[in-house]
C-alpha cells in the first residue's frame, strides 16, 4: 500500500508552492481582474513556461520533461491554490491530453513540443450554448478540412493560439485542431463571472482544420476520454483552491474578534470549518485515487475521474462560499480575495461538464462495471 505521492513528488510540490507564492501573488491575479484588456498575466505565464511545467506529462521524445501524470497533478494543485491567472489547464490538461490520446505520431511531433515550450497555447472549444454537451447538440461542422460554426464560451480562448474543436462530421463528431490566427477565425472577448481567466466567443467560417487521428465520427468518445483525464487534473486544481479557502477562513476566524472573543471560538463557525475540512479530505482522497487511475491507465479511470471531479467540485464550491460567509462583510468586498476563489470555484466546476454531468457519468460507469 502506497497511496501517497513519492518524496520526489512532494519535493516538486514544495518547490512549486514556494515559487508560486513568490511569483504569483494576489496582486498578479488582480492585475488581470482589474484590466479588461488583459487575457492573462503574461509575466507569470512566461515564468511558468520557463519552469517547464507545461511539459511535465509530455514525453521527452516530444519535447517534454517526461515526468508523468502524478507530477502534473501536483502542479495542478499548486496552481489552484494561487488562482494562477494563466491558460495552463487549457493547454496542458485538455489540448495536450487530446493530442497525446488521439493524435497521430506526426501530430504529436508537430504540436506537443510547442505546447511544452509555450510557443503555442492550446484550448478546448466544445460548448455552443446552455446545457450539457452532447453529440446531438453540436452545430459546428467540418468537411474537407474546413470548419464552420460558433463556440462559446471558450476558456482561455482569447490567449490561445490553437484550439481543439468538437465538430460534426457526417453522422458523427470529430475533434479538430484549428490555428486561431488563420483565415476564417474571428474571436471576441466575453464578459464572465470569472474575469481572471479570459473567455472568448470564437467564430469559424471555413477555417482550416486538422482532424486528430481518431476513427471517423468518433470524436465524442475521444472527447470523453480526454475529459476523464482532464477531470482528474482539474480536481487537483480545485482541491488546491478549496484547501486555500479553508486556510483563509481559519486564519480569519482566529483573528477576528466579536463579542469579546475570536469568532472561531463559536461552534457555528467551528462546525462550519470542520464541515469544509471533511469535504476537502473526501475530495483529496478521491483525487488521489483519480491520480492513481490516470497514472496507471487503470480500467477504473472513468469512475475514479468522475468521483474525483464530483468531490472536488463540491468541496471547492462549499469552501469558497463559506469562506466568504466566515469573513462576514469584509468577505463581500472587492479588496478581499474571497470572491476570487468563489469565481474560480464556479468556473472550474462547470468548465469540463457540471457536477450533474459527472454524477451521471459516475453512475453509468458503476452500472457498466456491475453488469460485467
Amino acid at each position: 500500500m502506497n497511496f501517497d505521492f513519492s518524496d520526489d513528488q512532494k519535493f516538486l510540490r514544495d518547490e512549486a508552492r514556494k515559487f508560486l507564492e513568490a511569483q504569483c501573488t494576489s496582486a498578479h491575479v488582480r492585475a488581470v481582474l482589474d484590466d479588461d484588456a488583459m487575457s492573462h498575466n503574461d509575466e507569470v505565464w512566461q515564468k511558468i513556461v520557463e519552469m517547464g511545467w507545461l511539459g511535465a506529462a509530455i514525453p521527452e521524445e516530444f519535447g517534454g520533461l517526461g515526468l508523468g501524470m502524478l507530477e502534473l497533478c501536483v502542479i495542478a494543485e499548486e496552481l489552484g491554490r494561487v488562482l494562477a491567472p494563466v491558460p495552463f489547464g487549457s493547454s496542458a490538461f485538455f489540448f495536450a491530453e487530446a493530442i497525446k490520446l488521439a493524435g497521430s505520431d506526426e501530430q504529436k511531433a508537430e504540436w506537443l513540443p510547442k505546447v511544452a515550450d509555450g510557443s503555442i497555447v492550446g484550448c478546448l472549444a466544445t460548448t455552443e450554448g446552455p446545457g450539457a454537451l452532447s453529440a446531438s447538440s453540436v452545430q459546428t461542422s467540418a468537411k474537407d478540412g474546413k470548419l464552420s460554426g460558433t463556440k462559446l464560451p471558450v476558456t482561455d480562448g482569447d490567449v490561445a493560439t490553437h484550439a481543439a474543436v468538437l465538430a460534426k462530421e457526417g453522422s458523427g463528431t470529430g475533434l479538430y485542431i484549428v490555428a486561431l490566427d488563420g483565415d476564417g477565425v474571428s474571436r471576441k472577448s466575453l464578459k464572465t463571472i470569472e474575469p481572471t481567466r479570459s473567455h472568448a466567443e470564437i467564430k469559424f467560417d471555413g477555417a482550416s482544420a486538422t482532424r486528430l487521428g481518431h476513427d471517423t465520427g468518433n470524436g465524442m468518445t475521444v472527447l470523453d476520454n480526454v475529459m476523464n483525464r482532464g477531470a482528474v487534473l482539474l480536481a487537483f486544481e480545485q482541491l488546491g483552491g478549496a484547501s486555500r479557502c479553508l486556510e483563509m477562513a481559519t486564519e480569519y476566524a482566529k483573528e477576528r474578534h466579536a463579542f469579546g472573543r475570536p469568532i472561531g471560538g463559536n461552534q457555528a463557525i467551528k462546525h462550519k470549518l470542520a464541515d469544509i475540512y471533511v469535504k476537502n479530505e473526501v475530495a483529496r482522497s478521491n483525487a488521489y485515487y483519480g491520480a492513481w487511475a490516470l497514472s496507471t491507465d487503470a480500467a477504473e479511470l472513468p469512475e475514479a475521474a468522475a468521483a474525483a471531479r464530483v468531490a472536488a467540485s463540491e468541496a471547492f464550491w462549499f469552501a469558497s462560499k463559506e469562506n466568504i460567509q466566515t469573513h462576514g462583510g469584509m468577505g463581500f468586498t472587492w479588496e478581499v480575495d474571497c470572491h476570487l476563489y468563489y469565481r474560480r470555484a464556479k468556473l472550474l466546476a462547470v468548465q469540463a461538464g457540471s457536477p450533474a454531468v459527472w454524477k451521471e457519468k459516475l453512475v453509468s460507469a458503476l452500472e457498466t462495471k456491475n453488469a460485467a
Partner: protein, 397 residues
C-alpha cells in the same frame, strides 16, 4: 502510487487469511447487527481463545504479555482480513481495545498477571464505565462518587450506555473522589468486579428495540485501594488513555452502503430515476472518500510514519451517510417501506434495521457535534469552547 502490499505485508496477509479460512466462514454481504445467534457470546469466547493461542489476538502487544510483537500495519491487515469473515469479535472489542490497555498502562504487576492473560484468552470480558445520565459529551462532569473507608473505597452512583455490562466480569470505572476541586482534577479510576454485591446491571431498551447497552447502578460497592489505576485525582489522565482508541474502534463500516442500495434500485426499477442517480453518485463519492482516506492512514503506518489528522473525518461521514441511505431506501419503497418483517421487506430489512440504528451511531463514541469540535480545535487550531466550570470546584455547580 500502488495498492499492493510489500513482500512482508503480503506474507502476513496470506498467513492471516489462511488462519482465518481454517477457522471461520466468509462474511455475507452487508452483515447486519441483528439476528445474532443465541450462542454468539460463547462463539466469541471460543474464537478469542483460538486467536490468542496463535498470537493473533493483539498483534501490536509485546510477546511477553501474549501479543505478537507486530507492527500497527500488521494490525490493520489483520483487521481487514478478519473483517472479511463472520468473526464474533464484538464482546472483546472494548475490553481488549480500551480497558485492558489501561490496566497495562496504570496497573500493578499483580493486576497485569491477574487480568491480562484471562482477557486475552477470552476467559474474562471487560466493560468501560464512564458515561452517566448527566455526563455524556461532558464526561468529566460525572457524579458517581467514591469515599475512602479504611483500605477500601465505597462507591455509589449510576453509569449508563455501558456496552456488554450484562456479560462482563470486570470493568474500569471512573468516579469522583474529590468534589471540592475543578471537575477534571477530582476523578479517580478503579478496576471493579462486575459480579460483586451492590452492582446492579439493567439493560437499556434502546429506541431501535434492541438492548446492547446497559445502566449500571452502584450501591455501597466496596473496592480495595489496591485496585486503583493511577493516583487519586489523576483519573482524567487515565481516562484519556482509555478513550484514545475509542473513535477508531467505533468508526467501522456500519451497515448497507451505496452498493446495497444500488442493488435494490436495480431490482426495483429505480435506476431510471434521475434524482436517485444523483444521490447514488454522492453516496459513492462519500463512501470512497472514507475508504480511501483510511488507505492514506494505512500508507503512513506502512512507512512507519504517524498518520495525519485526516482519519478524524470517519465517523462524521459514516453515521450520517448510513442514515441518509436508509432513509432513501425506505422512501423508495414508498408505503411498503415501513415493513421491517424480513418475510416481506426487501433486502432482509437491512435498510429498516439500520434506519433505526443510525441515530445511535451518530451519538456513540462522540456525537457529530463533539467530533466537529475536535476537528476544529485539534486539527484547525481554533479556540476551545467556553467552559465556565473549568476552574471552579465541582461542588460549586
Amino acid at each position: 502510487m500502488d495498492f499492493t502490499d510489500s513482500t512482508e505485508e503480503a506474507a502476513f496477509r496470506a498467513e492471516a487469511n489462511a488462519f482465518l479460512s481454517q477457522h471461520l466462514e466468509p462474511k455475507k454481504a452487508a452483515a447486519i447487527r441483528s439476528g445474532r445467534r443465541d450462542d454468539y457470546l460463547q462463539r466469541a469466547k471460543d474464537w478469542q481463545k483460538v486467536k490468542a493461542e496463535n498470537q493473533f489476538a493483539q498483534i501490536t502487544w509485546p510477546k511477553e504479555i501474549g501479543g505478537r510483537g507486530g507492527s500497527s500495519m500488521q494490525q490493520v491487515i489483520w483487521n481487514q482480513e478478519e473483517g472479511k469473515f463472520d468473526a464474533p469479535t464484538g464482546p472483546f472489542a472494548i475490553g481488549l481495545g480500551m480497558c485492558v490497555p489501561t490496566v497495562i498502562a496504570f496497573g500493578s504487576d499483580e493486576h497485569k498477571q491477574r487480568y491480562v492473560q484471562k482477557a486475552l484468552f477470552g476467559e474474562e470480558i471487560w466493560c468501560q464505565l464512564f458515561s452517566e445520565p448527566a455526563a455524556g459529551s461532558d464526561v468529566a462532569g460525572l457524579k458517581t462518587k467514591a469515599v475512602k473507608d479504611g483500605d477500601d473505597w465505597v462507591i455509589n452512583g449510576q453509569k449508563v450506555w455501558t456496552s456488554g455490562a450484562h456479560y462482563s466480569d470486570y470493568g474500569i470505572v471512573l468516579v469522583r473522589t474529590d468534589p471540592d476541586v475543578p471537575k477534571h482534577k477530582g476523578l479517580t479510576m478503579f478496576i471493579v468486579d462486575m459480579k460483586q454485591e451492590g452492582v446492579d446491571v439493567r439493560p437499556i431498551h434502546q429506541a431501535s428495540g434492541g438492548s446492547e447497552f446497559n445502566e449500571v447502578y452502584f450501591t455501597d460497592v466496596r473496592i480495595p485501594d489496591s485496585d486503583r489505576l493511577g493516583e487519586p485525582g489523576m483519573g482524567w489522565k487515565v481516562a484519556l488513555v482509555t478513550l484514545m482508541n475509542e473513535r477508531l474502534a467505533v468508526g467501522g463500516s456500519p451497515g448497507p452502503d451505496w452498493a446495497e442500495i444500488m442493488d435494490y434500485a436495480r431490482g426495483s426499477g429505480s435506476m431510471s430515476d434521475a434524482a436517485f442517480r444523483a444521490k447514488l453518485a454522492d453516496w459513492y463519492v462519500a463512501a470512497q472518500g472514507y475508504k480511501l482516506t483510511k488507505f492514506r492512514t494505512q500508507t503512513a503506518l506502512s512507512k512507519g510514519e504517524t498518520p495525519g489528522p485526516e482519519n478524524s473525518i470517519g465517523k462524521v461521514i459514516t453515521a450520517n451517510h448510513l442514515q441518509d441511505i436508509c432513509n432513501s431506501a425506505i422512501e423508495m419503497q414508498d408505503h411498503y417501506g415501513i415493513i421491517s418483517d424480513k418475510d416481506h421487506a426487501p433486502a432482509d430489512a437491512i435498510f429498516q434495521e439500520s434506519f433505526m440504528w443510525a441515530p445511535g451511531l451518530r451519538i456513540a463514541g462522540g456525537t457529530d457535534e463533539i467530533l466537529k469540535n475536535i476537528i476544529a480545535e485539534r486539527v484547525l487550531g481554533l479556540p476551545q469552547d467556553v467552559r465556565v466550570d473549568k476552574d471552579k470546584p465541582f461542588s460549586a455547580f
